[in-house]
């Protein structure tokens, strides 16, 4: 009945079909929060099981309600925490979205990340989990760091960057 074949595991180059398993949108990015208290290992462990997403590039005028509506499309939302200017305590263009189930957060990474909210392409990334204090911008003026130094004019994010404004 013919030779007993090689019998061992797949002879072809492993991962020919790994493209079918690819899930790059849901993977961790290169970014690591420098203010995280704990080891790199702890941080990555938390990121890999997190149900919380950081959402960036929001307009200052985007409301919690809009965020809830959009991110609700990938699953039930547990909590939305708006990012605030540390001084003014007004929205400064980012937020956290926490889901009840990680699978729902993954779907947000796959299908909401990189699409538009308030006509702006928003960006989502895994977050290790909200802690009190993390809702504030870390820029010197109170907003986000990226709004301190940028040179362009962005009507949805207070106009010019802070350094430019001070000139």
């Amino acid at each position: 009945l013919g030779q007993a074949g090689h019998g061992s595991a797949a002879m072809s180059s492993s991962g020919t079909l790994s493209i079918l398993r690819s899930d790059s949108y849901a993977e961790l990015s290169q970014y690591r929060d420098q203010h995280f208290r704990g080891t790199r290992y702890d941080q990555e462990r938390l990121l890999r099981k997190s149900c919380t997403l950081y959402v960036g590039n929001l307009s200052f005028y985007t409301t919690e309600e809009q965020i809830h509506e959009l991110f609700g499309k990938s699953g039930d939302i547990k909590k939305v925490i708006m990012g605030l200017d540390k001084v003014k305590k007004t929205a400064c263009g980012f937020c956290f979205v926490e889901y009840y189930a990680r699978g729902d957060a993954e779907n947000a990474m796959r299908y909401i990340n990189g699409t538009r909210l308030d006509d702006r392409i928003i960006r989502t990334d895994w977050d290790a989990g909200f802690k009190e204090g993390r809702q504030y911008g870390r820029g010197r003026s109170g907003g986000q760091v990226r709004d301190e130094y940028r040179q362009d004019y962005d009507a949805g994010r207070g106009g010019y960057g802070k350094t430019v404004q001070c000139q």
Binding site: Q3, G5, T16, E64, H68
Partner: protein, 709 residues
């Protein structure tokens, strides 16, 4: 599972490219995965059978052995007392391979094939199709009939046979190597006996083929293969397969779809759009999460900005034109897709083209659709934006400004009972009063249901509820977070006021009165109140069917709330069940460890007690779940019967827009939660869906039963 299938295919791919004489064991290993078919829940394993068929074309597998396997498949239709869906699966596996291998098999074994096809024909003639209306996207047969999937496939195979199995679309690279391959040693498939049907066997749901385009829709481009051509089947199968392979990676998925071979011979963009909408509108549910399709279409528009957006606009227009006969569940998905899509393109749309809907009754499908779309668009932006993007004539369809309505707000309302208490409460809450202080303020509110007062202070006092809930929600109106904080801070007051069933119902009523302009707020508040156990799921169901909500009964947000409520109930049952199983497993491990040490263990240790408590919790949760469905079905039956009787006695046509909406909402309950409802079929049949029921309503139940029969 997918990964074992892949690694087996990987093995085969390697074999085919490297080492032909050794493939026999590989094939046998793959056949082991075919035995996994009995656990398969999707049509994906038909793909495996097709792959084996292509191996016949490569002269790897001997044609007669493939025919023998198909004979075994078709013989399943002779089995007695098995669900139709079982026979359907095997029939599909056989028929769907024929575009690939029909020619070869017919050349080698025409008599056997003829016999198989005639057995197929007689099976298809005698199988029942009660389930079909429940799965059709449109109730009308024009312009394209919505065919049951096996019927459509059979027509396609019959046409293929008439064309002497000439099929020009499938890529057949082996033809170029025929002179080499035909000398190869062929192997026989070992005999395959279909695994017997068991109680636990699950088979794929039947489908209806979605068609929205034909060759007339793209007069300039290549001709679209007809609905009964086998090319149409092959193209659609391949495109569905691409989505199935790459659904997690939208850019890759879009690129793969657009680079489908033969795209100059077929109107590929039309096929892609049709296949995507076929999945989005599939009943009972789309194969993947809805938002994936929105994002996929956006990626496709990015890759083909000069052509795809136009096809999509044409499709949208066609879907709009046919709203009158579209299934309500599919209209929901259309609304969600279209509004989300527009929000990515600055809400640009030629609304004037749809001015015809302005002259219709607002409850008719077209104006209703536009209203719901505009409401969803507003949720993704803000009220003024929506006013700005539509022509002035559309203001009648524009959503209300989502502001809170506080009945004690104006001085002119000071004659309302409870007005002074409301003022008092407002001041107290602003001064960070505690729950106890709130209770003492509310103590002075008279009870309009004076006679029911049993003196214990915990009776249902609608005025207390009204004053408290109105005031609190008004103070917390600024954002969702403010409202959630308010619910959390005064949780104790809520629990006490809403202790009785009437209390729960009244809380919901007041929430509605305050926030009826802001359906999104109502939805998130109801969600929070269920999760914090201020109200329960049955209260929400009763509230939705109450007369106070009759005016909003056909609005989309109401059904979003009901389905979300059912899902929470289902998830709760699963969660407790899981906890119980995990605790049982822990106990089993503990017993194992202990028995290994020959130590006598206590019969009622903490784990045993925990298990007993969890058993009770599971039973209680399942009972609550069953009750929820009973309440919902009962209320539907009451509402629909009332309408049917009224129409009969009045001599008017039953089929009003309201009726169509209501009966399809009933269908939607069955379809969206079919797995859970299957558990309660006997109760439903004996208690609610009895023979005395009006046949219009009973038909829905019978169609549902037919889905897995």
């Amino acid at each position: 599972s997918n990964s074992s299938l892949e690694s087996n295919l990987e093995g085969l791919a390697g074999v085919l490219e490297a080492d032909l004489p050794n493939y026999k064991s590989k094939i046998l290993r793959i056949l082991c995965t075919v035995y996994v078919l009995r656990k398969s829940r999707n049509m994906g394993c038909a793909f495996l059978v097709r792959f084996l068929s292509d191996l016949v074309n490569c002269h790897v597998i001997a044609a007669p052995s493939m025919v023998a396997m198909f004979e075994n498949f078709v013989s399943v239709t002779q089995e007695e007392d098995v669900p139709q869906v079982r026979c359907d699966w095997y029939m599909f596996a056989f028929l769907s391979s024929l575009p690939w291998v029909g020619k070869e098999l017919y050349e080698k074994k025409d008599a056997e094939m003829d016999r198989l096809l005639s057995q197929t024909e007689s099976y298809l003639k005698r199988r029942q199709k009660i389930h079909v209306p429940m799965l059709q996207v449109w109730t009308a047969d024009k312009p394209h009939p919505q065919e049951e999937y096996l019927d459509c496939l059979w027509s396609q195979i019959q046409k293929l046979k008439k064309d002497r199995w000439q099929e020009r679309h499938i890529l057949r690279p082996y033809l170029a190597f025929d002179s080499v391959l035909c000398e190869a040693l062929q192997h026989n498939l070992p005999p395959f006996t279909p695994p017997p049907h068991t109680e636990d066997s699950v088979y794929p749901m039947p489908r209806v083929i979605f068609r929205m385009f034909d060759y007339t829709d793209d007069p300039e481009g290549p001709v679209m293969p007809g609905s009964h051509s086998v090319e149409r089947f092959v193209i659609e199968e391949n495109l569905h397969c691409i989505i199935k392979s790459h659904w997690k990676e939208r850019k890759t998925c879009a690129a793969q779809l657009l680079s489908y071979p033969g795209n100059n011979k077929i109107p590929l963009n039309y096929h892609i759009v049709e296949v995507i909408f076929a999945e989005l509108f599939q009943l009972p549910s789309p194969p993947h999460i809805e938002v994936m399709y929105t994002t996929l279409l956006i990626e496709l528009c990015k890759l083909q900005p000069g052509s795809l957006p136009q096809v999509l606009a044409q499709a949208t227009e066609m879907l709009y034109m046919r709203l009158d006969t579209m299934n309500t569940t599919c209209v929901d998905r259309f609304i969600n897709w279209f509004s989300h899509h527009l929000s990515n393109f600055q809400f640009r749309w030629s609304w004037e083209d749809w001015s015809d809907c302005l002259t219709q009754d607002l409850e008719k499908p077209k104006p209703k659709f536009v209203r719901e779309v505009l409401e969803k668009c507003m949720r993704l932006s803000y009220h003024q934006r929506i006013i700005d993007i539509v022509p002035a004539s559309f203001s009648v369809l524009s959503p209300a400004n989502p502001v809170c309505i506080y009945k004690y707000g104006d001085e002119s309302n000071r004659s309302l009972p409870g007005y002074t208490v409301a003022l008092c409460l407002t001041i107290a809450i602003k001064n960070k009063a505690s729950n106890d202080e709130i209770f003492s303020i509310l103590k002075d509110v008279p009870n309009p249901n004076q006679d029911d007062d049993d003196g214990e202070g915990f009776t249902f006092n609608p005025l207390k509820i009204e004053v408290f809930v109105q005031t609190l929600l008004h103070l917390a109106a600024k954002s969702f977070s403010h409202s959630f904080s308010a619910l959390a801070k005064f949780h104790e007051v809520f629990k006490t006021l809403a202790e009785s069933d009437e209390g729960k119902l009244h809380v919901l009523r007041v929430v509605y009165e305050v926030w009826k302009n802001h359906p999104q707020m109502i939805a998130v508040l109801v969600d929070k109140m269920i999760r914090t156990q201020i109200v329960d799921c049955a209260a929400v169901a009763n509230w939705i069917f109450s007369s106070e909500l009759a005016h909003d009964f056909t609005r989309f947000y109401i059904w979003e709330i009901l389905h979300s409520t059912i899902r929470k109930m289902n998830k709760h049952v699963l969660k407790i069940h899981k906890e119980l199983e995990e605790t049982k497993a822990r106990l089993a491990r503990q017993h194992k460890r202990v028995s290994n040490l020959f130590v006598i263990f206590k019969p009622n240790g903490p784990l045993e007690e925990q298990i007993e408590r969890l058993q009770e919790k599971v039973e209680s949760a399942q009972s609550e779940q069953k009750n929820l469905f009973l309440v919902i079905f009962q209320r539907f039956i009451m509402l629909l019967t009332e309408h049917l009787v009224r129409c009969e006695t009045g001599g008017i046509d039953v089929f009003t827009p309201w009726y169509k909406s209501c009966i399809e909402r009933l269908q939607q309950i069955f379809l969206q939660h079919h797995q859970i409802i299957q558990q309660y079929m006997v109760t439903l049949e004996n208690l609610l869906f009895t023979a005395e029921l009006d046949h219009h309503i009973l038909a829905v139940f019978q169609q549902f039963c037919a889905l897995q029969a």
